[in-house]
């Protein structure tokens, strides 16, 4: 089994520039600067079938293809690495940032070359202090070695690279909100169109890609699109960093072929449930994905199969809900998070999420009524796709709508027994 992204990562250690070069690092960059035009790099990545690993799962090559490439294109163009990992239950990018920083930087430089960018940023969340230190040093090492800066490896192409650390707020991970944050504004999402590829940071053509997505690029260039396609065990390409947290024996993160089943990830890699607990439900890819249950364990964890089961692959980090955790309390925790993190820009999200949170809080305390069930159901429609600026509220409704479907009995018991049946 090939694990290109993590094979050189030793837990707790950081691969230095020298180590990375010895392992074949920056060969992909040398190769494209010599052999490939930016358009050719775009085509290779399109052919590889790489899809965004940040949650939305959009084709990376197609995303790039909307960037104006002719001589009239406005400059500076920007390439931004989204390292604002803040989706509850998600802890995969941290491994790549801390373990193999130059793999990410090479990926960024390749992506920047593919869109002929002039300036690149790593947008890193504040809480990743160790990663901040590592990225700071790695960027400076990359400058010193000539991989970024003026005249990259003598190619005549200039690329500047900066680290930006945020000051909190989940919404900064939404790509247009991230752009506003980088511009020093409140991180509210922007209306689309115009899309960032045409009018992004400071109104200039911009691409925002996730850490894991970018880390795939050196390997795709070195080994080719067909090789990348062959890594998976499904119709989607490549490997994926899967994680499991919750009451399992060995919580953690592993790079596995895309399409590995949920059962294999939970039972073999995470060691199965902690003794005394059984599995009641899972969020397959972070807080904003629909619940799946035991009946779905044999589905492949790829974009298509998880969607067919009624959820989303999201970030690929599974949160397990055990039989001793109250589903209403669990969903209340999620909705508290989303209500708090709503940027307040659009009304359905700003007003609707706190309403949902209050209803769930009442239910959990035993103050619910049958009407609450209708109200919650109604919100899953009103806050669903198409009614809001960005995907925050629709994402929040995914675990709620599926909880109402799979764990309805638990909600009803809270109402009928005037208390949380999981307490005492």
């Amino acid at each position: 089994m090939e694990q290109p992204l993590t094979k050189n990562i030793i837990t707790g250690n950081t691969l230095s520039l020298k180590d990375y070069e010895q392992a074949g690092g920056y060969a992909a960059l040398r190769k494209v600067l010599k052999d490939n035009s930016p358009q050719q790099v775009q085509q290779i990545v399109k052919d590889s079938g790489l899809k965004g690993r940040g949650g939305a799962g959009f084709s990376t090559g197609i995303k790039w293809s909307f960037v104006p490439m002719d001589e009239n294109a406005r400059h500076p163009k920007y390439l931004i690495c989204n390292a604002d990992e803040m989706e509850p239950g998600t802890f995969k990018d941290r491994l790549l940032l801390e373990g193999n920083p130059h793999q990410l930087l090479e990926g960024m430089i390749l992506a920047a070359y593919a869109i002929k960018a002039d300036i690149s940023y790593v947008f890193l969340r504040w809480a990743y202090r160790k990663a901040a230190e590592i990225m700071e040093k790695s960027i400076s090492d990359a400058y010193a070695a000539g991989y970024v800066g003026k005249n990259v490896l003598g190619s005549g192409w200039n690329l500047e690279m900066y680290l930006h650390t945020g000051v909190g707020r989940y919404i900064c991970g939404e790509e247009t909100a991230l752009l506003n944050a980088l511009e020093g504004k409140r991180a509210t999402p922007r209306a689309k169109p115009p899309f960032p590829q045409v009018s992004g940071l400071y109104g200039k053509p911009t691409i925002v890609n996730n850490v894991e997505t970018l880390s795939c690029l050196p390997h795709i260039i070195n080994n080719g699109a067909d090789w990348f396609r062959s890594l998976s065990v499904s119709e989607d390409s490549g490997t994926k960093l899967y994680g499991v947290s919750g009451k399992v024996k060995r919580p953690g993160v592993w790079e596995l072929p895309l399409g590995t089943t949920m059962r294999e990830i939970i039972e073999e890699y995470a060691g199965g449930m902690t003794n005394g607990y059984s599995l009641k439900g899972v969020l397959p890819g972070g807080a904003s994905t629909d619940f799946l249950t035991e009946q779905h364990l044999d589905i492949k964890m790829d974009y298509t199969s998880v969607a067919a089961a009624g959820s989303r692959l999201g970030t690929g980090t599974i949160v397990v809900m055990d039989d001793k955790t109250c589903p209403v309390g669990f969903v209340h925790n999620l909705q508290h998070f989303f209500a708090q993190e709503s940027c307040g820009w659009c009304t359905p999200c700003r007003e609707g999420l706190p309403w949902v949170e209050r209803i769930l809080s009442g239910l959990e305390k035993g103050n619910g009524s049958p009407e609450d069930m209708e109200l919650l159901q109604m919100h899953t429609q009103y806050l669903g796709p198409g009614n809001t600026y960005c995907a925050l509220a629709p994402g929040a409704m995914e675990p709620l709508q599926s909880a109402l479907k799979y764990f309805r009995e638990d909600f009803v018991r809270h109402i009928e027994e005037y208390k949380c049946p999981y307490e005492g």
Binding site: G89, F91, A127, E183, G184, S245, G329, L334
Partner: protein
């Protein structure tokens, strides 16, 4: 109001204004100037300016808002709208050490509630409060990205994973 009083008041305001302009220290101004040099226009450096000032003073007062606004040629309201948006910019005084306890889903499942209860008991404060001796401020924080080692918390820039109630004494002692 009598006209001379008005003038007096005006003078007083001018004076206050002047003072505010000088509120940023040399170190702060140099650091902010560096940030300004990296962006297309001054305003774009406001988040960095808030970070710089907070690093020196631990929190952002109304006076700091005014000083930054003057320096970046923005209105104070505009600076404040940015400052209040981001949860790690503190608009109230905080203690010497800030505890960020993760309250997101994996930590919820793994019992962050018990850690919160223990912290409340030990420090005699709730989320959003500062201990009487000004040593600790306790704040909830979204997912810290170490869900495989939940529950997790940060004190200042230090990360603590797999936190157990019985370790809290020893951990807090390190900051006293």
């Amino acid at each position: 109001m009598h006209e001379s009083n008005l003038i007096l008041e005006q003078k007083h305001n001018d004076h206050a204004h002047m003072e505010k302009k000088e509120l940023l220290t040399e170190i702060e101004m140099r650091a902010i100037d560096h940030e300004i040099s990296m962006v297309p226009y001054k305003k774009a450096a406001v988040i960095e300016a808030l970070k710089i000032v907070q690093k020196q003073r631990r929190w952002i007062s109304d006076e700091s808002i005014d000083a930054i606004a003057n320096y970046l040629e923005m209105s104070a309201a505009e600076v404040d709208s940015v400052a209040t948006f981001y949860n790690l910019i503190f608009r109230k005084p905080v203690g010497k050490h800030v505890i960020l306890l993760c309250d997101s889903i994996s930590c919820y499942v793994m019992g962050y509630g018990k850690i919160y209860e223990a912290l409340q008991k030990q420090l005699n404060i709730q989320f959003g409060q500062t201990t009487k001796d000004n040593l600790f401020t306790l704040l909830p924080n979204v997912c810290l990205g170490c869900c495989d080692h939940a529950p997790a918390m940060m004190i200042d820039e230090d990360l603590y994973e797999d936190v157990k109630e019985e370790q809290l004494d020893r951990i807090l002692e390190l900051y006293k």
